[in-house]
């Protein structure tokens, strides 16, 4: 029996075949999904902010893109994944509320997505699917068997990438 393990907000988890990972109701946060095709080990992080470096209270490493990705890689390595062969898929980063004179905090989804792309590229992890932006929420399900990421929305359909 395969299990669907939940990843909460500011949380990260690693799973092995045949299990799957899910995070519900992503808004401006980003779901970062990493997959090792050879071992079928998967990892998922639900980050809220781009960088731990500008924040004083930064003990929750799963909250920030930089520290969450580093921890996820460590955890996947411990489980036996080859971190040099990972592929990445990302989703989320929407702007839920629109304002004409948006300050930086209103565009946090965009900044989160940029930060995640940069950090994954620093770790030389190719992003094979990128479903970010828009103004709607997403629930994501990530399957270890195939590396498929299913993205569900309200009113914007369901897709698999």
């Amino acid at each position: 029996m395969s299990e669907m393990l939940k990843v909460g907000m500011a949380d990260l988890k690693v799973a092995k075949y045949p299990n799957a990972l899910t995070t519900l109701g992503l808004g401006s946060c980003i779901g970062i999904c990493l997959y090792d095709p050879a071992t079928k080990i998967i990892g998922m992080a639900h980050i809220m902010l781009p960088s731990s470096k500008t924040i004083k209270n930064n003990s929750n490493i799963a909250k920030f893109a930089d520290t969450a990705i580093a921890k996820l890689l460590d955890d996947m390595k411990l489980e036996g994944a080859n971190v040099n062969k990972l592929v990445g898929k990302i989703a989320g980063g929407s702007q839920m509320f629109k304002f004409s004179s948006g300050n930086d905090m209103m565009k946090i989804g965009l900044r989160n997505a940029e930060a995640v792309r940069d950090i994954l590229s620093e770790h030389r992890i190719p992003i094979v699917a990128d479903d970010t932006g828009g103004n709607f929420g997403r629930t994501i399900e990530f399957f270890s068997e195939s590396g498929v990421l299913r993205i569900k929305t309200i009113g914007h359909g369901v897709k698999e990438v």
């Binding site: 808004g27 809220m48 209270n57 509320f97 946090i108 629930t139």
Partner: protein
């Protein structure tokens, strides 16, 4: 950096609870005027929650909810959001405009909700403004109907800049005659520096 907010200690909580009480009381009065009916308000519940618990109080991260978001302008910066489940949103629209169809939340229902949110949040903030002697106004509203987790990610991220908890004030309004009850949550989100200004103006020693 505010040290007060990191702790959300009991004095700060009491002050914020009182703000919530008075603000929501004002909002209830405004609602009563708007619908020309008596509106009661239950004592607001102030919740300090972990991020993961936040969507649960609205029925889970995938539950469809309505969020009406305003920026705060003037002497403090930040935002205020009014969140309610779709049932309560429908009741609110029906109370305001009896007989209107709210099936599928059409454009008309959206603009009615924005207007209701405007009046509720406006009276909430105006009581905060007079309590604190600070000039605070709200922007035009922005409304979203989507998953609770996605909508609440917006205030959660703002609070995420200063800690791992979020402060929500739950208000239940009850319309006297038909006993229709409307559950809504106000989430006041001052920017980090504005917390100190706000609490200082209210006489809290920092």
């Amino acid at each position: 950096m505010s040290t007060v907010v990191e702790k959300f200690d009991s004095v700060v909580l009491d002050v914020l609870k009182e703000i919530g009480n008075i603000g929501a009381g004002n909002a209830a009065t405004a609602l009563a005027k708007m619908i020309s009916k008596k509106v009661d308000m239950k004592v607001p519940l102030v919740n300090v929650l972990d991020f993961s618990e936040v969507p649960e109080i609205l029925g889970g991260p995938e539950m469809e909810v309505v969020g009406i978001f305003f920026k705060l302008e003037g002497e403090i910066e930040g935002s205020i959001m009014f969140v309610l489940d779709t049932n309560s949103a429908q009741k609110l629209i029906e109370l305001l405009m009896p007989g209107i169809s709210t099936d599928g939340f059409n454009e008309f229902a959206f603009s009615a909700l924005q207007e209701i949110g405007n009046i509720l949040a406006g009276s909430y903030i105006s009581s905060l403004s007079s309590l604190s002697n600070l000039d605070i106004k709200i922007s035009v509203p922005s409304l979203a109907l989507d998953m609770a987790g996605a909508i609440l990610s917006v205030p959660a991220i703002h609070f995420g800049l200063i800690g791992d908890k979020i402060l929500m004030i739950e208000n239940e309004f009850v319309e006297e005659f038909e006993k229709d009850s409307v559950n809504g949550f106000f989430i006041l989100i001052p920017e980090v520096d504005s917390y100190d200004i706000l609490l200082g103006s209210l006489g809290v020693q920092i």
